[in-house]
Symmetry: C2
Subunit: 149 residues, 2 copies
Protein backbone atom coordinates (compact mmCIF):
# COMPACT_ATOMS: atom_id res chain seq x y z
CA UNK A 1 0.00 0.00 0.00
CA UNK A 2 1.47 3.30 -1.16
CA UNK A 3 0.51 6.44 0.80
CA UNK A 4 0.65 9.97 -0.57
CA UNK A 5 1.62 12.89 1.71
CA UNK A 6 -1.79 14.53 1.31
CA UNK A 7 -3.60 11.29 2.20
CA UNK A 8 -1.42 10.94 5.29
CA UNK A 9 -2.27 14.50 6.36
CA UNK A 10 -6.00 13.84 5.89
CA UNK A 11 -5.84 10.56 7.78
CA UNK A 12 -3.84 12.03 10.65
CA UNK A 13 -6.21 15.03 10.76
CA UNK A 14 -8.87 12.41 11.43
CA UNK A 15 -7.15 9.74 13.46
CA UNK A 16 -3.76 10.99 14.62
CA UNK A 17 -2.78 12.12 18.06
CA UNK A 18 0.15 14.12 19.41
CA UNK A 19 0.72 13.37 23.07
CA UNK A 20 3.10 14.70 25.68
CA UNK A 21 3.21 13.21 29.15
CA UNK A 22 5.46 13.47 32.16
CA UNK A 23 6.45 10.31 34.01
CA UNK A 24 8.17 10.10 37.38
CA UNK A 25 11.80 9.11 37.23
CA UNK A 26 13.07 9.31 40.82
CA UNK A 27 16.65 8.44 39.85
CA UNK A 28 16.88 11.43 37.44
CA UNK A 29 18.20 14.83 38.47
CA UNK A 30 14.90 16.58 37.64
CA UNK A 31 12.89 13.51 38.84
CA UNK A 32 10.62 13.55 35.79
CA UNK A 33 10.97 12.28 32.27
CA UNK A 34 9.20 13.73 29.21
CA UNK A 35 7.42 11.20 27.03
CA UNK A 36 6.35 12.44 23.60
CA UNK A 37 4.34 10.28 21.26
CA UNK A 38 2.74 10.47 17.84
CA UNK A 39 0.05 7.81 17.50
CA UNK A 40 -2.66 6.56 15.17
CA UNK A 41 -5.15 3.99 16.47
CA UNK A 42 -7.22 1.76 14.18
CA UNK A 43 -9.35 -1.36 14.33
CA UNK A 44 -7.17 -4.39 13.66
CA UNK A 45 -8.89 -4.92 10.32
CA UNK A 46 -6.78 -1.98 9.11
CA UNK A 47 -3.39 -3.25 10.25
CA UNK A 48 -2.10 -2.75 6.69
CA UNK A 49 -2.73 0.98 6.88
CA UNK A 50 -0.78 1.19 10.15
CA UNK A 51 2.09 -0.78 8.63
CA UNK A 52 2.04 1.54 5.61
CA UNK A 53 2.31 4.53 7.99
CA UNK A 54 5.30 2.86 9.65
CA UNK A 55 6.99 2.54 6.25
CA UNK A 56 5.96 6.08 5.30
CA UNK A 57 7.55 7.61 8.42
CA UNK A 58 10.47 5.16 8.31
CA UNK A 59 10.05 4.32 11.99
CA UNK A 60 7.69 3.68 14.85
CA UNK A 61 6.00 0.43 15.84
CA UNK A 62 2.62 -1.21 15.37
CA UNK A 63 1.30 -2.60 18.66
CA UNK A 64 -1.94 -3.79 20.25
CA UNK A 65 -3.65 -0.78 21.81
CA UNK A 66 -6.67 -2.31 23.56
CA UNK A 67 -9.21 -4.98 22.62
CA UNK A 68 -9.41 -5.13 18.84
CA UNK A 69 -7.58 -1.83 18.28
CA UNK A 70 -4.03 -1.53 17.07
CA UNK A 71 -1.78 1.47 17.34
CA UNK A 72 1.00 2.84 15.17
CA UNK A 73 3.15 4.91 17.48
CA UNK A 74 6.41 6.82 17.36
CA UNK A 75 8.33 7.59 20.56
CA UNK A 76 11.91 7.64 19.35
CA UNK A 77 13.14 11.23 19.28
CA UNK A 78 14.97 10.88 15.96
CA UNK A 79 11.79 9.64 14.24
CA UNK A 80 9.64 12.28 15.99
CA UNK A 81 11.93 14.95 14.54
CA UNK A 82 11.22 13.51 11.08
CA UNK A 83 7.47 13.35 11.79
CA UNK A 84 7.59 17.05 12.76
CA UNK A 85 9.47 17.96 9.58
CA UNK A 86 6.81 16.20 7.55
CA UNK A 87 3.89 18.05 9.19
CA UNK A 88 5.71 21.36 8.90
CA UNK A 89 5.95 20.79 5.17
CA UNK A 90 2.38 19.42 4.90
CA UNK A 91 0.27 21.24 7.53
CA UNK A 92 -2.76 19.65 9.15
CA UNK A 93 -6.09 21.29 8.34
CA UNK A 94 -8.03 20.62 11.52
CA UNK A 95 -7.45 22.28 14.90
CA UNK A 96 -5.05 19.40 15.57
CA UNK A 97 -2.59 21.76 13.89
CA UNK A 98 -2.66 23.93 17.05
CA UNK A 99 -1.63 20.88 19.07
CA UNK A 100 0.99 19.94 16.54
CA UNK A 101 2.68 23.36 16.76
CA UNK A 102 3.04 22.90 20.54
CA UNK A 103 4.20 19.32 20.06
CA UNK A 104 6.83 20.43 17.56
CA UNK A 105 8.17 22.94 20.11
CA UNK A 106 8.31 20.20 22.75
CA UNK A 107 10.28 18.01 20.34
CA UNK A 108 12.67 20.91 19.67
CA UNK A 109 13.25 21.28 23.44
CA UNK A 110 13.89 17.54 23.71
CA UNK A 111 16.15 17.55 20.67
CA UNK A 112 18.29 20.24 22.30
CA UNK A 113 18.44 18.22 25.56
CA UNK A 114 16.97 21.16 27.47
CA UNK A 115 14.15 18.97 28.89
CA UNK A 116 16.75 17.38 31.17
CA UNK A 117 16.89 20.61 33.17
CA UNK A 118 14.17 21.99 35.45
CA UNK A 119 13.77 25.09 33.27
CA UNK A 120 13.42 22.94 30.15
CA UNK A 121 10.90 20.71 31.90
CA UNK A 122 8.87 23.78 32.87
CA UNK A 123 8.96 24.92 29.26
CA UNK A 124 7.71 21.51 28.09
CA UNK A 125 4.87 21.54 30.63
CA UNK A 126 3.95 25.10 29.66
CA UNK A 127 3.53 23.94 26.06
CA UNK A 128 1.88 20.61 26.79
CA UNK A 129 -0.68 21.62 29.42
CA UNK A 130 -2.95 23.38 26.91
CA UNK A 131 -2.90 20.58 24.33
CA UNK A 132 -6.32 19.11 23.55
CA UNK A 133 -6.01 15.84 25.49
CA UNK A 134 -3.66 17.18 28.15
CA UNK A 135 -4.17 16.20 31.77
CA UNK A 136 -3.88 19.79 33.00
CA UNK A 137 -4.15 18.96 36.73
CA UNK A 138 -1.38 16.40 36.39
CA UNK A 139 0.88 19.00 34.77
CA UNK A 140 -0.05 21.50 37.46
CA UNK A 141 0.99 19.02 40.16
CA UNK A 142 4.34 18.39 38.50
CA UNK A 143 4.94 22.16 38.20
CA UNK A 144 4.10 22.53 41.91
CA UNK A 145 6.57 19.80 42.85
CA UNK A 146 9.23 21.59 40.81
CA UNK A 147 8.66 24.60 43.04
CA UNK A 148 6.26 26.52 40.86
CA UNK A 149 2.52 26.21 41.44
Amino acid sequence: MELSPEWVVGFVDGEGCFLVSIVEQPEDKVQYKVLAEFAVVQHRRDVQVLQALKRFFKGGVVRVNHDDRLCFRVRKLETLVQVCSFFQRYPLKTKKQVDFVKFRKVIAVMDSGEHLTIDGLRKVIGLAKSMIHADASRFQNVLASLGEG
Copy 2:
Protein backbone atom coordinates in the same frame (compact mmCIF):
# COMPACT_ATOMS: atom_id res chain seq x y z
CA MET B 1 -9.92 26.32 3.36
CA GLU B 2 -9.01 24.46 0.18
CA LEU B 3 -9.16 20.65 0.26
CA SER B 4 -7.25 18.35 -2.08
CA PRO B 5 -8.84 15.08 -3.26
CA GLU B 6 -6.12 13.00 -1.56
CA TRP B 7 -6.61 14.83 1.75
CA VAL B 8 -10.36 14.23 1.52
CA VAL B 9 -9.76 10.50 0.94
CA GLY B 10 -7.42 10.32 3.95
CA PHE B 11 -9.82 12.24 6.17
CA VAL B 12 -12.82 10.16 5.13
CA ASP B 13 -10.76 6.97 5.59
CA GLY B 14 -10.42 8.16 9.17
CA GLU B 15 -13.68 9.90 9.95
CA GLY B 16 -16.20 9.17 7.22
CA CYS B 17 -19.15 6.84 7.37
CA PHE B 18 -21.35 5.28 4.73
CA LEU B 19 -24.72 4.32 6.17
CA VAL B 20 -27.76 2.57 4.79
CA SER B 21 -30.88 2.22 6.87
CA ILE B 22 -34.44 1.15 6.25
CA VAL B 23 -37.26 3.19 7.75
CA GLU B 24 -40.91 2.23 7.94
CA GLN B 25 -43.15 4.06 5.53
CA PRO B 26 -46.61 2.51 5.97
CA GLU B 27 -48.16 4.62 3.18
CA ASP B 28 -45.66 3.31 0.59
CA LYS B 29 -46.32 0.30 -1.62
CA VAL B 30 -43.32 -1.59 -0.25
CA GLN B 31 -43.87 -0.10 3.28
CA TYR B 32 -40.21 0.71 3.72
CA LYS B 33 -38.01 3.53 2.58
CA VAL B 34 -34.26 3.29 1.99
CA LEU B 35 -32.21 6.01 3.66
CA ALA B 36 -28.62 6.30 2.46
CA GLU B 37 -26.19 8.72 4.06
CA PHE B 38 -22.59 9.75 3.79
CA ALA B 39 -21.46 11.46 6.98
CA VAL B 40 -18.41 12.92 8.70
CA VAL B 41 -18.65 13.83 12.41
CA GLN B 42 -16.25 16.27 14.09
CA HIS B 43 -15.95 18.27 17.28
CA ARG B 44 -17.47 21.71 16.74
CA ARG B 45 -14.03 23.28 16.93
CA ASP B 46 -13.56 21.91 13.39
CA VAL B 47 -16.72 23.32 11.85
CA GLN B 48 -14.59 24.92 9.12
CA VAL B 49 -13.40 21.53 7.91
CA LEU B 50 -17.00 20.31 7.67
CA GLN B 51 -17.99 23.42 5.75
CA ALA B 52 -15.02 22.89 3.42
CA LEU B 53 -16.25 19.32 2.80
CA LYS B 54 -19.68 20.70 1.96
CA ARG B 55 -18.10 23.00 -0.63
CA PHE B 56 -15.87 20.20 -1.89
CA PHE B 57 -18.81 17.86 -2.55
CA LYS B 58 -21.05 20.72 -3.71
CA GLY B 59 -23.87 19.59 -1.44
CA GLY B 60 -24.88 18.17 1.91
CA VAL B 61 -25.50 19.99 5.16
CA VAL B 62 -23.62 20.74 8.37
CA ARG B 63 -25.78 19.99 11.43
CA VAL B 64 -25.42 19.42 15.16
CA ASN B 65 -24.88 15.71 15.73
CA HIS B 66 -24.89 15.39 19.52
CA ASP B 67 -23.40 17.45 22.37
CA ASP B 68 -20.38 19.30 21.00
CA ARG B 69 -20.16 17.25 17.81
CA LEU B 70 -21.18 18.48 14.39
CA CYS B 71 -21.91 16.41 11.33
CA PHE B 72 -21.49 16.99 7.61
CA ARG B 73 -23.97 14.72 5.93
CA VAL B 74 -25.27 14.01 2.46
CA ARG B 75 -28.65 12.34 1.96
CA LYS B 76 -29.76 13.80 -1.36
CA LEU B 77 -29.50 11.11 -4.05
CA GLU B 78 -28.07 13.45 -6.68
CA THR B 79 -25.23 14.48 -4.35
CA LEU B 80 -24.65 10.90 -3.20
CA VAL B 81 -24.16 9.91 -6.85
CA GLN B 82 -21.44 12.60 -7.07
CA VAL B 83 -19.87 11.41 -3.79
CA CYS B 84 -19.74 7.88 -5.22
CA SER B 85 -18.13 9.10 -8.45
CA PHE B 86 -15.47 10.85 -6.40
CA PHE B 87 -14.59 7.77 -4.32
CA GLN B 88 -14.55 5.60 -7.42
CA ARG B 89 -11.95 7.89 -8.90
CA TYR B 90 -10.05 8.26 -5.60
CA PRO B 91 -10.40 4.95 -3.73
CA LEU B 92 -10.31 4.72 0.04
CA LYS B 93 -7.34 2.87 1.51
CA THR B 94 -8.87 1.42 4.67
CA LYS B 95 -11.39 -1.42 4.87
CA LYS B 96 -14.02 1.30 4.64
CA GLN B 97 -13.52 0.75 0.92
CA VAL B 98 -15.38 -2.60 1.27
CA ASP B 99 -18.33 -0.72 2.77
CA PHE B 100 -18.12 1.94 0.11
CA VAL B 101 -18.38 -0.62 -2.72
CA LYS B 102 -21.64 -1.91 -1.19
CA PHE B 103 -22.85 1.63 -0.59
CA ARG B 104 -22.16 2.54 -4.22
CA LYS B 105 -24.24 -0.43 -5.38
CA VAL B 106 -27.08 0.68 -3.08
CA ILE B 107 -26.92 4.17 -4.58
CA ALA B 108 -27.03 2.66 -8.09
CA VAL B 109 -30.18 0.71 -7.12
CA MET B 110 -31.71 3.91 -5.74
CA ASP B 111 -30.67 5.91 -8.77
CA SER B 112 -32.48 3.44 -11.01
CA GLY B 113 -35.61 3.64 -8.82
CA GLU B 114 -35.49 -0.13 -8.28
CA HIS B 115 -35.52 0.32 -4.47
CA LEU B 116 -39.19 1.26 -4.76
CA THR B 117 -39.99 -2.38 -5.56
CA ILE B 118 -39.83 -5.32 -3.15
CA ASP B 119 -37.11 -7.00 -5.21
CA GLY B 120 -35.06 -3.80 -5.24
CA LEU B 121 -35.51 -3.41 -1.50
CA ARG B 122 -34.30 -6.97 -0.96
CA LYS B 123 -31.28 -6.20 -3.09
CA VAL B 124 -30.52 -3.10 -1.00
CA ILE B 125 -30.84 -5.07 2.25
CA GLY B 126 -28.65 -7.84 0.87
CA LEU B 127 -25.91 -5.28 0.24
CA ALA B 128 -26.39 -3.25 3.40
CA LYS B 129 -26.68 -6.00 6.01
CA SER B 130 -22.98 -6.88 5.89
CA MET B 131 -21.75 -3.30 6.08
CA ILE B 132 -19.55 -2.57 9.12
CA HIS B 133 -22.08 -0.66 11.24
CA ALA B 134 -25.14 -2.44 9.90
CA ASP B 135 -27.91 -3.43 12.28
CA ALA B 136 -28.08 -6.98 10.88
CA SER B 137 -31.02 -8.12 13.03
CA ARG B 138 -33.04 -5.08 11.96
CA PHE B 139 -32.40 -5.91 8.30
CA GLN B 140 -33.30 -9.54 8.96
CA ASN B 141 -36.63 -8.47 10.46
CA VAL B 142 -37.44 -6.28 7.47
CA LEU B 143 -36.58 -9.14 5.09
CA ALA B 144 -38.84 -11.44 7.10
CA SER B 145 -41.73 -8.97 6.88
CA LEU B 146 -41.19 -8.81 3.12
CA GLY B 147 -41.83 -12.56 3.05
CA GLU B 148 -38.28 -13.79 3.10
CA GLY B 149 -36.72 -14.81 6.37
